[in-house]
Amino acid sequence: MSQNKNLPVIATDLTAGFGGTRVLDSVSMDAAEHSITMILGASGCGKTTLLKNLIRLLDPWSGSIRIFGQEITGMDEPEFNGILRGIGVLFQNGALLNSISIAENVAIPLEQHTELPRELISRLARVKLGLVGLENASSRFPSELSGGMRKRAALARAIALDPPLLFCDEPSSGLDPVTASGLDHLLLEMRDKLGMTLVIVSHTVSSIQRIADRIVFMDAGKVLFRGTIREARSAGIEKMEEFFKNG
């Protein structure tokens, strides 16, 4: 399936689930370098589960996952931690640590993975919070923020280390249209200016049309379509057309 074994993300025939319930059924997808790949599909179809398998928060039942060209299933922990160094993750609900301020949240990956002095870390944390429009909220705690602000703070944490690979789970859900379009611009800039590879789970048709280079359309744990949006229009897949019409 994949022409290039060194794409940042290649998943092949992933099958996964919880207990005895299969949630992903032979899912294959990939993401090209410096591009935005969007994973779409109705809620409950397994997008988050796919994402968590890709970063090994869940172990697939079978199949292969290559990140930066290396097979990660069965890789030992120290080696995989090295891979995580190059990955940022924005979780569906932000998943900020609630016991510390958002600036400290953003500082965690910097402290964990770099030898930078404190002063610089705190400066960097502020810069990242500024990128998402939260420069004035850095000392606040997650519980003091609205859902949309929390999500943006979580994005700031995800990009703290300028990871070459960024996973986002529904970044614009819960945001107002203006903030959401600002976020889309930010994601585009990260692709263009920082050369990141982005894999984004999304529901929002407008943002898919704005920023997706390629899409992966899922339904009930299966991938029904992979390709560009233009190809999607002429693919004649009923469920996908319905998704775009109603999204």
Binding site: K52, L57, F91, A95, L96, L97, N98, S99, I108, P109
Partner: protein, 374 residues
């Protein structure tokens, strides 16, 4: 006005009248339990006289049709009228016919239940020991390398566990020492052995009550807090986020608590011992006319190092039980805020139980270790 319904049989037709709604379905069910044999291979449900069908009615009619069809007959609905026909279509449950029925919970037989429970206990023990191994591993690593632990957490946790529990531990210890002394004084006085209250309380507080009181208070205060914190982190995906940043949740969250409780618990225990003995001293003073000075001398004479050591060892064991059980129950939570509360309660009950069990076992071990008791 109560809804009414009836059903009657006319050759190959079941004729319904009135309302097929949630209130009448039980009656209709019993009426249609037995279906007389049919000639001609088809049975029609006639809804001409029905003025209203609700979703329960639709489900009833669907189930009836499936049952009839299973007997090899054709079954159709006729004369439903426009509105009822639409209801039947929109709320149809026929597509679920091919699926296995949803199994009502709590209907396992006794063997399934016991078997499931046994499996769960073994699975849980396995996980508990994995967590324990992880914690010890990172606790030892953490002594040399602070990276990967929550900053400042050791101090915070020590204060949280130690300072906040101090007043309540102190108060309970005082009262227990006081009451124990009062009860035993009444007895011992009859034999003119009142001074031995001091010995009794000194030994009881150091070996048993001090560690136990502290452990039970901390299980309720800190154990539950640990479970609630970790459980909430599981629900809000904070633990996932930690792992995605190459941080180990056990190392980040649990290890600082292990350090903190290992430090503070023995200190609290010693305080509890002292305050309990002080409570007894008050009784000696006001009730038995034993002065502070002789009481103190009696206590010092009664205690040997082993008593204090026993209490100390117990307190450390209890401390670890409380953190580990608290953490274990926290990590068990997968989804849902309501699980957090349940896990917290379960964790407190479990840690108090295990503390008392461990207390008995340790007590036994110490006695067997040295059979002569002075």
């Amino acid at each position: 006005m109560r809804p009414e319904a009836s059903v009657s049989r006319r050759q190959n037709r079941l004729v319904f009248r009135g309302q097929i709604v949630i209130a009448t379905v039980p009656f209709l069910l019993s009426e249609t339990e037995v279906i007389e044999p049919v000639r001609g291979g088809a049975l029609t449900l006639d809804l001409a006289g029905v003025d209203h069908v609700d979703t329960a009615g639709v489900a009833f009619l669907d189930a009836l049709r499936s049952r009839i069809e299973k007997n090899g007959l054709e079954c159709r609905i006729e004369n439903a009228g426009e509105r009822n026909a639409r209801t039947l279509e929109v709320f149809s449950s026929r597509k679920f016919d091919s699926q296995a029925p949803v199994r009502p919970p709590g209907r396992e037989n006794i063997f399934e239940k016991l078997g499931g429970r046994a499996m769960r206990i073994f699975g849980n023990l396995h996980q508990f020991f994995l967590l324990l191994a992880d914690t010890f591993y990172y606790a030892i690593i953490g002594l040399f390398n602070r990276r990967g632990m929550r900053k400042g957490d050791f101090i915070n946790q020590s204060i949280l566990i130690g300072m906040n529990s101090l007043p309540i531990v102190g108060l309970i210890s005082f009262l227990i020492g006081f009451i124990l002394a009062l009860q035993s004084a009444a007895q011992l006085r009859q034999f003119g052995a009142a001074i031995f209250v001091a010995d009794l309380i000194a030994i009881a507080m150091t070996r048993e009550m001090g560690p136990l009181i502290t452990a039970i208070v901390l299980a309720g205060r800190s154990g539950s807090a640990i479970t609630a914190e970790i459980a909430t982190m599981m629900v809000t995906e904070e633990t996932d986020a930690l792992r995605s940043m190459a941080l180990n949740p056990v190392r980040y969250v649990v290890v600082p608590k292990v350090y903190a409780i290992t430090m503070t618990m023995p200190m609290l225990t010693i305080l509890s011992m002292l305050i309990g003995i002080f409570g007894a001293m008050v009784i000696g003073l006001v009730y038995l006319d034993i002065g502070m000075e002789p009481f103190y001398r009696e206590v010092v004479n009664a205690l040997i190092l082993k008593d204090i050591l026993t209490g100390f060892i117990k307190s450390v064991v209890f401390a670890w039980l409380i953190v580990m059980i608290g953490a274990y129950y926290g990590f068990q939570v997968r989804t849902g805020a309501e699980e957090v509360g349940r896990a917290t309660t379960a964790s407190v009950v479990a840690s108090i139980f295990w503390v008392i069990l461990a207390d008995s076992l340790l007590g036994l071990a110490f006695y067997l270790g040295q059979p002569v008791f002075v």
